[in-house]
């Protein structure tokens, strides 16, 4: 019999399988980018929400051929982890979706809205309908009102797609389910912080939940947590990971091969999935929209000092021996945020390695050598 951990790992390995099965059974699927699209609303509309992922094995050539030839080269700089998601979209892997949601997050992500539109026109591609989920980034009351309106728009689009009104009760049920998912991820994060559970396992389990509806993910994740060996305590070096998103586990596995493990991180495929539970009030749309407003697009939190403080709090809560900041080549968000975060952790006495301009695959021998030396130094 397959264990819950194996089942989740299976979903992580084939992240569209559950959504395809749902579609094959007559259901609807919406694919979306990033971690701040309100999946509660999608599920309340009885639609399967599927987060789009990349992967270091995805060819970047479709994006280069079909999109990059449309614009001058300075229009959008795209890191490979975004290029891989765009590659999957252009390669037809999400063509079974009823719509694709592109949120107004980092530039390279938001650009995908226009890129898909223009590529479809120019090259006569048959792509799913693409929706833009706009979002103001600043924190003021005007921005908040704007973001609430954006969520209202999304609700209307979903209702038009299904031809049915979304009830507040359904939204409430969905919010409760996703809060439960967040609590389970938080439990996993605690287990990592307390006992040093392998980061690669955590990234598999959390990653799988992005490919499942909450009603599927929650029982599996609960069973997986129950099945974890409570006597296990990791004796090696405990690391914090900051920097660019890691939508594949290569870096986590490399760290573990070197005798350490990542017990906490700040990127959109890890512990952040537990952040900001939604108020379970009668004003379901208000609560949902409020989270959308408060949850940073990518890591873009203003002011930057607040971002540094949150990074330090995560690292300290996980009682790490050291920190790695892995900044992917072309990541224009982390290129500016990370140096201050590195300084903040070092000032707090946490030995920190700042890796810049890193290849997406995270598998080079140079990286391995650098990590080995850093981890060895932590032991002295």
């Amino acid at each position: 019999m397959t264990s819950a951990i194996d089942a989740l790992r299976g979903h992580y390995a084939d992240r569209t399988a559950a959504a395809r099965a749902h579609k094959a059974n007559g259901g609807r699927v919406i694919a979306y980018l990033c971690d701040n699209v309100p999946v509660e609303l999608i599920e309340a509309a009885d639609i399967f929400p599927l987060r789009i992922h990349g992967g270091s094995d995805v060819s970047l050539r479709p994006a280069q051929r079909l999109v990059d030839t449309l614009y001058p080269p300075d229009v959008t700089q795209r890191p490979d982890f975004v290029g891989a998601m765009l590659g999957r979209l252009l390669g037809g892997e999400y063509d079974f979706a009823d719509a694709v949601i592109v949120p107004h997050n980092r530039n390279a992500v938001q650009a995908i809205y226009r890129e898909l539109h223009d590529a479809a026109l120019e090259h006569e591609l048959q792509l799913p309908e693409v929706w833009y989920l706009d979002r103001a980034w600043s924190a003021g009351v005007d921005a908040r009102a704007y973001n609430h309106a954006s969520i209202g728009d999304l609700r209307q689009k979903l209702e038009q797609l299904t031809g049915s009104a979304i009830s507040d009760a359904a939204i409430g049920t969905s919010i409760a389910a996703h809060n439960q998912r967040r609590r389970l991820v938080a439990r996993l994060a605690s287990a990592r912080a307390e006992r040093g559970l392998p980061g690669s396992l955590a990234i598999d389990l959390i990653g799988a939940t992005w490919s499942l509806a909450a009603k599927m993910a929650n029982p599996l994740l609960a069973m997986a947590l129950d099945a974890l060996d409570t006597r296990f305590v990791f004796e090696g070096r405990r690391l914090y990971l900051g920097g660019s998103p890691q939508d594949h586990p290569a870096l986590y596995r490399l760290v573990e091969r070197l005798g350490a493990t990542i017990v906490a991180e700040d990127h959109c495929w890890g512990n952040r999935a537990a952040d900001l539970p939604i108020d379970e009030t009668d004003d379901t749309m208000g609560a949902l929209a409020d989270r959308f407003h408060r949850f940073p697009a990518c890591s873009i939190l203003f002011p930057i000092a607040e971002k540094r403080a949150s990074v330090l709090a995560r690292a300290q809560a996980a009682r790490v021996d050291g920190a790695i900041f892995f900044v992917a080549a072309g990541d224009t968000t982390q290129a500016w945020e990370t140096p201050g975060e590195v300084a903040t952790l070092r000032d707090a006495g946490i030995p920190t390695l700042h890796l810049r301009r890193q290849p997406y695959a995270a598998d080079s021998s140079a990286l391995e050598d650098t990590l080995r030396a850093f981890i060895a130094d932590l032991g002295r």
């Binding site: 001058p72 107004h104 809205y113 704007y146 930057i304 500016w336 945020e337 810049r356």
Partner: protein, 403 residues
């Protein structure tokens, strides 16, 4: 190669160069005397500061001084790198504050605030980090790329700026922007202890429109005259009057430019001794480094680039009481790097060929298809350089398509 002289420099353009440097000297003096100073993005907030009589430095203008006037781009890129940041053009201004001893023109005084932008994550962070380095406030205003990301532009959008600009803007974004402008104005009123003068602001916006009309008239004369009367180098140097837009001084500078252009056109004098063919550069940069080679080896004139056409796009007609709304529409959309517009511009300038910068190895690009389809010979170059390999590509292109 011939030993033809370089194109003459216009006196009115030299006056602009001198004015800009003097402006910074004057600003330092004013700040030393206790006055306020601000830093903002190119098309964001300058007119508001002008209304408050606060000198405001435009970020990408300062960056261009670092790169082109002071030729210290490499040094300040290294400064960014040493601080752990990724060297980028937008970050150069921040670098001049991290290493003020090397800053051009004596460096910048401490601002009261930097108006940040959510134009993209890098620009938002750079403005925040810059404010941290100065120890001043940073106020980001929301922005969304109308053209590049969130909203498709109407056909022939480049004809809509003056009277129909709201057709290019997301109306809800416009409302947000307007609200945020008003909030920041209120913050400034409180900080400065003086009220925002709406009548003065409307005057500045009206004068700005007049400035752009004068600019456009000059550019139309330059575009239609044969031979080309004003070099691309001087056109780009003149673009500096786009900073401190709408001031009496800058309007006067553009009027002087128009007067000089009229004289040159009337005299039939050309910027280039011969003009065997015309090239439009589909770029935002300065006069390309290979221009002298194209001119002297082949008698070709690089007549324009997209910046020559951008300036009039700053103008917005507005009804009484709607000046802030007009500014907000301008802030949300100025232009898009789009080949149909640039083909229109290339045609307006009488170009025979278009050169664009694009990496080697790219498949056929949309720019190439549109330009060739519009009847222009199209040459992609991997970089702006005057090197043997670039010259060889130019030679091959001219021989095959233009000779």
């Amino acid at each position: 190669m011939s030993d033809t002289p370089r194109p003459r420099r216009l006196a009115s353009v030299d006056a602009v160069r001198g004015h800009q440097r003097q402006w910074l000297d004057d600003t330092r003096t004013r700040v030393a005397a206790g006055e306020h100073f601000a830093i903002c993005n190119a098309d964001d907030f300058e007119e508001i500061f002008t209304t408050f009589d606060i000198p405001a430095l435009v970020i990408n203008y300062w960056n261009s001084i670092v790169t082109f006037s002071a030729r210290k781009g490499e040094h300040f890129a290294a400064v960014l790198d040493a601080h752990g940041y990724e060297p980028s053009n937008f970050g150069l201004g921040l670098a001049t504050t991290l290493d003020p001893a090397e800053a051009p023109w004596g460096g910048l005084p401490k601002p009261t605030l930097i108006v940040g932008t959510t134009r993209d994550e890098a620009q938002m962070r750079v403005t925040e980090l810059w404010a941290e380095a100065f120890g001043c406030a940073c106020c980001p205003i929301d922005f969304s790329w109308t053209s590049q990301f969130s909203r498709m532009l109407p056909p022939e959008w480049w004809t809509l700026h003056r009277k129909r600009s709201e057709e290019m803007i997301d109306p809800r974004r416009l409302d947000l922007r307007l609200a945020q402008i008003k909030t920041l104005i209120a913050w400034l009123e409180q900080t400065l202890g003086r009220a925002f003068d709406h009548a003065r602001f409307a005057e500045i916006m009206t004068r700005l429109n007049r400035q752009m009309d004068v600019w456009e008239e000059a550019m139309n004369l330059i575009a239609t005259a044969r031979p080309l009367p004003v070099s691309l180098r001087d056109q780009m140097a003149m673009y500096q009057v786009m900073w401190q837009r709408g001031t009496e001084r800058n309007l006067a500078l553009v009027e002087d430019f128009l007067a000089e252009v009229r004289e040159i056109v009337a005299s039939g004098t050309g910027a280039h001794p011969q003009e065997r063919f015309r090239i439009y550069m589909a770029t935002s940069g300065n006069d390309p480094q290979f221009h002298a080679y194209v001119r002297e080896r082949w008698g070709g004139a690089i007549v324009s680039n997209r910046y020559s056409a951008i300036a009039p796009m700053y103008a917005r007609d507005f009804a009484e009481g709607e000046a802030l709304r007009a500014l907000a529409t301008r802030q949300l959309f100025l232009f898009d790097k789009e080949p149909l517009w640039e083909a229109y511009e290339a045609r307006r300038w009488g170009a025979d060929a278009v050169i664009a910068l694009q990496p080697d190895g790219a498949a056929s690009t949309r720019y190439e298809r549109v330009m060739e389809g519009a009847g222009f010979a199209f040459l992609p170059l991997p970089r702006d350089a005057d090197t043997p390999d670039i010259r060889e590509r130019i030679d091959t292109f001219v021989t095959a398509r233009l000779a």
